[in-house]
């Protein structure tokens, strides 16, 4: 069994309620921080822990905290990003639904560290029942004196509220989230200025993911150094992985960074192997935005080293032969999955979720979706494959926010590793028409039709 930090207590009956959570050591980090540590000492602990943002970008949390503008004297805010919408990711919901007080405890301790007296949790609109759970938990915490004026008699005040979104993936981008929190359209802002200087209502703001904030109580209770001992290299601590697709045990798992992908995939403690006896075909290890890995690059890197569940190992080989840990959305495909259809599906997602503010993303995502749809439905042209590569390269890096990159990478990776499958779609349209998501014939069986080696 690997170390559990976030999900340690999740199976205790009644842990959703304040009483049980408190009886099991809940809110001790607030006591410790407010009574024995200065805000800067809390920030130092978090820096020492080496924890990196769990929302997908992997930016060191302590560094993000240290950027917040304390000199201007403006009010500071902490905003929790609970707008979990990356396809393949459902870990934050699990935390908030089953152990809501952990996030609230993390919010109080973190707000104290940042000197914020007003904080928000921005949750996606579709998680309406989780919103209600959090509202209830906040009311309980407030009734018990953990929120409001003069918390624990230390003179520290904090108000914490949940804000509900309205259905937009883009609001997971921190500046779009802030716009949405201000009651506007979720258009990402142009940076700089960064939220640490000018965020919510123009004031210094830190936006952190649910999982990141939920790790703060443990770090404060056990020290940043203890956290940094867990994991491997610069990937410290534990990570929640949301596993889905053609596997035996889909769900949310807490793993120690550095676990091998092979063990995670096949051990009964985790995914338990494939759900059928079909072979593994591909893996998206970090949510739909990250490059897909073909079977031969999943367990081993291109250098024939074991592939591990860590920021570094998953991105080993760059985009040519690697991928990214991203948000930990682990999607597993067996050989019935059609890569072209999957790529079209992801493209449709980004087309649907583009905010429409900047040109390359607004126009490019729709264009890619239309081409992929044509290829998938049997009216693709040979030149469409290179056209797709060209379009994605024109979007990548040229947009206001990372959604453009997120839309471009999966297309590039799918063509890079599965080009033959695209060619098959173009050359044998009659064979790929009238199918649902699964392939009548796994690609391995028809591969010879497009193989250059056949005469």
């Amino acid at each position: 069994m690997s170390k559990k930090i976030l999900l340690e207590k999740v199976n205790i009956p009644g842990i959703k309620t304040y009483e049980v959570y408190r009886q099991n050591g809940g809110y001790t980090s607030v006591e410790k921080a407010l009574k024995t540590l200065t805000p800067d000492e809390v920030v130092e602990e978090v820096k020492t822990s080496g924890i990196r943002g769990r929302g997908g970008a992997g930016f060191p949390m302590g560094m993000k905290w240290s950027f917040i503008d304390k000199k201007s004297g403006k009010p500071r805010y902490l905003v929790c990003n609970a707008d979990e919408s990356e396809p393949g990711t459902f870990k934050d919901r699990y935390l908030m639904e089953f152990i809501p007080h952990l996030l609230i405890e993390g919010m109080i301790t973190s707000s104290y560290a940042l000197g914020a007296n007003l904080s928000y949790i921005y949750i996606r609109g579709e998680y309406m029942w989780v919103y209600k759970i959090l509202e209830k938990a906040i009311a309980e915490a407030k009734a018990a004196g953990w929120l409001g004026k003069n918390i624990l008699g230390t003179g520290y005040d904090l108000d914490l509220y949940v804000q509900i979104g309205g259905g937009a993936y883009i609001c997971g981008e921190e500046t779009a989230l802030i716009e949405s929190l201000e009651g506007k359209r979720g258009n990402p802002r142009i940076k700089p200025p960064f939220p640490a200087v000018s965020g919510l209502w123009g004031n210094p703001t830190v936006v952190n993911n649910v999982e990141t904030i939920s790790a703060v109580p443990w770090i404060v209770n056990n020290s940043g150094a203890a956290y940094a001992e867990i994991g491997i290299g610069r990937s410290t601590g534990t990570k929640l992985i949301s596993a889905s697709g053609n596997i035996k045990n889909p769900g949310v798992y807490e793993i120690e960074m550095g676990l091998s992908v092979y063990e995670f995939m096949n051990s009964d403690e985790y995914l338990g192997g494939m759900s059928t006896d079909r072979p593994l075909k591909a893996l998206v290890p970090g949510g739909s935005s990250v490059p897909v890995l073909p079977a031969h690059l999943i367990y081993k890197t291109a250098n024939n080293e074991d592939r591990l569940m860590s920021y570094e190992s998953l991105s080993d080989g760059g985009f040519a032969t690697g991928s990214m840990l991203g948000s930990g959305g682990f999607i597993v495909y067996d050989d019935r999955a059609c890569i072209v259809r999957n790529t079209w599906n992801f493209s449709r997602f980004y087309h649907h979720e583009s905010c429409g503010q900047c040109t390359p993303c607004r126009e490019g995502t729709g264009w890619m979706e239309k081409i992929l749809h044509r290829i998938e439905t049997g009216t693709g042209r040979e030149e469409d494959i290179d056209l797709l590569l060209s379009i994605q390269s024109k979007i990548e890096g040229n947009t206001i926010c990372p959604l453009g990159d997120a839309a471009a990478w999966p297309v590039a990776a799918a063509i890079r590793h599965f080009r033959e499958e695209f060619e098959y779609h173009v050359r044998f349209p009659e064979k790929i028409k009238n199918r649902d998501h699964f392939v009548a014939e796994p690609f391995e069986k028809v591969k010879h039709l497009v193989s250059k080696l056949t005469v």
Partner: protein, 176 residues
């Protein structure tokens, strides 16, 4: 721009006003506009799940903002409906991880069973089937959202049961 000409009865009840005022109190006094999204959810839930222009104007009035600021937001987010929708809206997640577990076939099944196409309510206004993007339940696929809740690990038998339960008025859409 999808607009509905159907007249909507607007009724901002006392309970609703109390809730709206509570939501507004979550923000600094001069930042009333920030309450827009939560207020729209509350108002929509209390008005048959859709927001007519008149109702949006009412929200603008409550929050002291311009009507166009409400229209901009309502049209941006997918959860706000600008026309009457089926009372029981089956919103299937049709993003890839769910599709790997057969969502597309299940949507076809549901549509056939109800005799509708995706995006069209049944003649009696009871049901509607929609495909939506990732709902964050990939490990529990196939799944759909019904009201404020998720229905997960769906099968054809479960769909049949849900339809029966809806007809028997056994399904709670909003937890108020």
């Amino acid at each position: 721009m999808e607009k509905s000409q159907i007249k909507q009865n607007i009724n901002i009840t006392e309970a609703l006003t109390t809730r709206i005022n509570e939501l507004i109190s979550h923000y600094p006094d001069d930042k009333r506009k920030s309450a827009l999204l939560p207020v729209l959810h509350e108002v929509q839930d209390a008005h048959d799940n859709w927001l007519s222009i008149e109702l949006q104007d009412k929200v603008a009035e409550i929050l002291h903002i311009l009507p166009v600021e409400v229209y901009e937001v309502v049209t941006f987010y997918t959860m706000f409906n600008q026309r009457p929708i089926g009372k029981y809206m089956f919103e299937f997640c049709h993003t890839s991880p769910c599709c790997l577990n057969g969502t597309e076939n299940l949507m076809d099944y549901t549509c056939n069973k109800l005799g509708v196409k995706v995006g069209e309510p049944t003649a009696d206004g009871m049901f509607e089937v929609r495909g939506v993007e990732c709902l964050g339940a990939c490990g529990y696929a196939p799944m759909m959202q019904l009201g404020d809740f998720y229905q997960e690990h769906l099968t054809e038998a479960k769909i049949d049961q849900l339809i029966t339960d809806c007809k028997d008025n056994k399904i709670i859409l909003h937890d108020k």
